[in-house]
Amino acid sequence: MNRKEFLRNSLAAAAVLTVPAAAAPAEEHAEPVGFNHLPSVNTTTMNTVLHKANTRGHANHGWLDSHHTFSFAHYYDPNRIHFGALRVLNDDIVDGGMGFGTHPHDNMEIISIPLEGDLEHKDSMGNTAVIRQNDVQIMSAGTGIYHSEYNKNKDKKVNFLQIWVFPKKRNIEPRYDQITFRPQDRVNKLQQIVSPSHEDDGVWINQDAWFNLGTFTKGFTTSYQLHQKGNGVYAFVIQGDVRVNGQLLNQRDGFGIWGVDGLEISADSDAELLLMEVPMIK
């Protein structure tokens, strides 16, 4: 089966695959459109990979508008599978009151970062929570959990990043954590939001990974030192224009870099940046 056939055959099942029937009327998401198959040729240089925002996979299900930095669901590009342990970076916009019905996960570290609006979470471990802007949620799916995610508000959209990181250890006991961060603590500085140490700042992750958020004013410069040799960093620009080691990045661009000890970062405009340091597993 070639890729076009695969995608064509897959479309009919997309509603079942991405959203349980309870989440939205079938006719609203039976025809996902806009998959982006732009090749990622000429975007790789030594030790870096550039993913421009407009080359991301795109699935518009009506109630859900999702951009995939890496191959996900029925977006499949063999050149865009993962960056080390970072496997999924989805930029999801969900209509008011809509969402993902109860569905399973296992063996994945799943991080949700709301950018706008509120997301309601319920899971089989008994957790019920609303994740708001400035919150970061992590689930270690481990041996297996069920959860649902809905837009808490009926009258406005929720935009959130969902990030999946391969676990360091498979089949751990499922776990959930959520922290509210102070936005003022990341103005012109990097704020650690994910780390592999319980004693360190951020939600704990079952992987040698560190995530940082920064809100920068135009002209601000800073540096980032990697925590672990052999790791790489994937930079994702939430808003504005940022340079990472000289590479200009615009809104929603992604830039992976490895084989370095540190990064030099500068803001070409007011900007928000997410840095994800992960092991460069094959």
Binding site: M1, R3, E5, F6, N9, S10, A12, A13, V16, L17, T18, S71, F72, A73, H74, Y76, P78, I81, R87, V88, H103, P104, H105, D106, N107, M108, A141, G142, T143, G144, I145, Y146, W164, F166, P167, R170, N171
Partner: protein
């Protein structure tokens, strides 16, 4: 187009049910599930599988033994790990394995 037969091994019955349902929505993909090692061996010897998907909860020791058994019997098959437990990566993982099979041919 030839069919792709997939053996899914996992320990979580509900996740297994979901994974099998999702895989079997594809017209050319046929999946069977096994919740124990014995069941996996039994099904493997009864059918010609192209891909074996190791799902959640399968202990490292079981995984290695099963992999060894399967590959010694059928060196051409793909034994891969499934991550994520649902639709997100399932199709990508199988498609990657199929691409691997086609490059072997």
């Amino acid at each position: 187009m030839s069919a792709v037969n997939i053996l899914v091994i996992g320990r979580h019955a509900q996740i297994m049910e979901t994974v099998l349902r999702l895989v079997n929505t594809q017209p050319h993909w046929h999946a069977q599930g096994a919740l124990t090692d014995d069941e996996a061996r039994q099904k493997f010897s009864a059918s010609a599988f192209d891909v074996v998907l190791i799902g959640g909860g399968v202990e490292e020791e079981s995984e290695q033994k099963l992999k060894q058994t399967f590959l010694s019997s059928r060196p051409d098959i793909k034994v891969i790990r499934h991550y994520g437990g649902g639709s997100g990566l399932l199709f990508n993982e199988i498609q990657q394995a199929i691409n691997g099979l086609s490059t072997q041919e």
